[in-house]
């Protein structure tokens, strides 16, 4: 496992290599425990940039966004994440107002399971993304690998298909998008996920959005089937059920 940590351009130095050595193998004994059930307390249909401001769209990105917005409005583009409950993709799935759970397991993997549309993300620990897989098997939620840097779980994802939006308003991305999430506990019951979006065709610079969740181990994740009545979301500010 430790030899797989050779990545270029990701800012990994000697410290990270040392950390990888310590963390290699399946044991998570030295790593922060973020396992549990979490739930957002607020929901924003439109993506909120860290530092504020608007999406740094390129001309191509602007055209794609306008096309999405117009299509969603006139019905020529269907939001299948809401209509057929296909996966939301990143980062939209991070914004969803339903609980989700983080499970350390099976050994070598961290698994994130969302109540919404029973989405499952597998994060292969201390592995590298395999470019051929990303091209051959593009996925709604992409392919993810992770490693710990101190108290932070760093998750790199790529290999996305182009069937998702970045948010409910139709913010676009290409299949060349890659993301880096930095997930950490910011309090005994608070989890933070800051995701950086890298998609130079549509965005003139990398940008970030941030989500904070509350630990809710008093809950159980419920079954979710499209079109059926689901959990009460009135505790999540900003949710408007049509």
């Amino acid at each position: 496992m430790r030899d797989s940590r050779v990545r270029s351009g990701a800012g990994l130095g000697l410290a990270a290599l040392l950390a990888a050595t310590v963390l290699s193998g399946a044991a998570y004994g030295q790593t922060p425990d973020m396992s549990g059930i979490y739930w957002a307390t607020e929901y924003h249909p439109k993506i909120q940039l860290v530092g504020g401001g608007e999406l740094p769209l390129t001309a191509a990105g602007k055209a794609a966004y306008e096309k999405n917005m117009a299509g969603l409005k006139d019905g020529s583009i269907v939001d299948n994440a809401r209509k057929l409950c296909v996966p939301d993709g990143l980062p939209r799935v991070l914004a969803n107002p339903y609980p989700f759970e983080i499970v350390y397991g099976p050994p070598g993997q961290i698994t994130i399971m969302y109540e919404l549309s029973h989405q499952v993300r597998t994060i292969a620990m201390n592995k590298t993304l395999v470019k051929e897989d990303l091209i051959a098997f593009p996925a709604y939620n992409g392919h993810s690998v992770g490693h710990f840097e101190g108290d932070t779980l760093v998750v790199d994802s790529a290999g996305f298909n182009e069937k998702t939006f970045l948010d409910a308003t139709g913010a676009p991305h290409t299949d060349e998008m890659s993301t880096t999430e930095r997930i950490r506990k910011i309090g005994p019951t608070q989890l933070e996920d800051v995701i950086t979006i890298h998609d130079p065709e549509y965005y003139s610079r990398d940008w970030q959005t941030r989500f904070v969740y509350t630990l809710r181990n008093d809950l159980r994740i419920e079954d979710y089937v499209c079109g059926e009545p689901h959990r009460d979301l009135s505790s999540v500010a900003g949710v408007r059920r049509p």
Binding site: V103, P106, P107, V120, A139
Partner: protein, 299 residues
């Protein structure tokens, strides 16, 4: 994780299992030396090793079989007038699953419902009868165990087991406790509690199962909310097969419990994202059962 490793033999054994990682060494080292007079049974790993990122479990078929040791009433069989020829049964005309609604184990209402479903299929009104996972519905308990084409995965922690089906990323949760909740709201997968037995078996007890579009098998044998399912999931001696012995009790649908059996083989397969609702259209105008659809967005 460290905290939980200090409590309980099950947790300790699992943590040892995790710590040794790829070696898969059983927890022998933990067994204290004993005199021959009190020699215990040969040491075994405390729990069956079902979960891995390196392997998964692929069902051997989409129908229940009789348990190896006949214990009671077996699965509902095809209607003798309409023998079933599956599309993996070799040469011959593939037929629809028409269940034996005349089986005396069925309460009259259940038999009548199956007959109606059979007639709907035989008349061609619905050319392909309902099959939950083919149309993106959860398979319920125990029906979800019958999904054949893509593997399932386990995640095991000291307090919980998850079963994740690659197909449409369906997830069942099993809480490792000895008590059901006082009030269980019926749902697709109900409430499952479980424990390990003999170091090789996961026993799962499920209640609280909702009934809409939920069947015990692919012959569309119905159940009520009184359905009570006990699944015993066990590895074969060589570890290459996973076997489930299942007992379904439902005093309002069945005159006696059904005893069912399913097997999976161990496959090397990394969990992929497969999305059921994608391109799942009624291309041949067979009046397929509708997919789950939200007519208006959930939020």
């Amino acid at each position: 994780m460290l905290k939980s490793c200090s409590r309980g033999t099950l947790a300790a054994a699992l943590c040892v299992g995790i710590a040794v990682g790829a070696m898969h060494a059983p927890a022998r080292a933990q067994v204290p030396a004993q005199s021959p007079a009190q020699a215990p049974a040969p040491a075994k790993a405390a729990i069956p090793d079902l979960a891995s990122i390196n392997f998964a479990w692929l069902a051997l078929g989409a129908d229940w079989s009789d348990p190896p040791v006949r214990a009671g009433h077996g699965p509902i069989a095809p209607d003798p007038d309409h023998p079933f020829h599956s599309n993996v049964a070799g040469p011959g005309q593939v037929t629809l699953r028409i269940g034996n609604y005349r089986d005396p184990v069925l309460k009259p209402w259940a038999a009548a419902q199956m007959l109606a479903s059979n007639e709907e299929a035989l008349s061609g009104k619905r050319a392909v009868p309902f099959a939950a996972q083919a149309r993106c519905w959860p398979g319920g308990v125990p029906g979800q165990l019958l999904y054949p084409a893509e593997p399932l995965y386990f995640i095991q922690t000291p307090k919980q087991v998850w079963i994740v089906w690659q197909r449409d990323h369906m997830v069942r949760r099993i809480y490792l406790t000895d008590r059901h909740s006082e009030h269980v709201t019926p749902s697709w997968f109900g409430e499952s509690i479980g424990h390990y037995e003999n170091g090789d078996t996961l026993v799962v007890d499920t209640i609280g199962l909702s009934t809409k579009n939920s069947y015990i098998d692919n012959f569309r044998t119905p159940h009520t909310e009184k359905e009570h399912v006990v699944e015993r999931l066990k590895l074969s001696a060589d570890g290459k097969l996973l076997e489930a012995s299942v007992v379904v009790d439902d005093p309002d649908a069945l005159n006696e419990p059904l005893h069912l059996f399913q097997r999976w083989r161990k496959v090397k397969n990394e969990l992929l994202e497969t999305v059921c609702a994608e391109n799942n259209e009624d291309f041949f105008h067979q009046n397929l059962f509708p997919l789950p659809v939200a007519e208006k967005p959930d939020f």
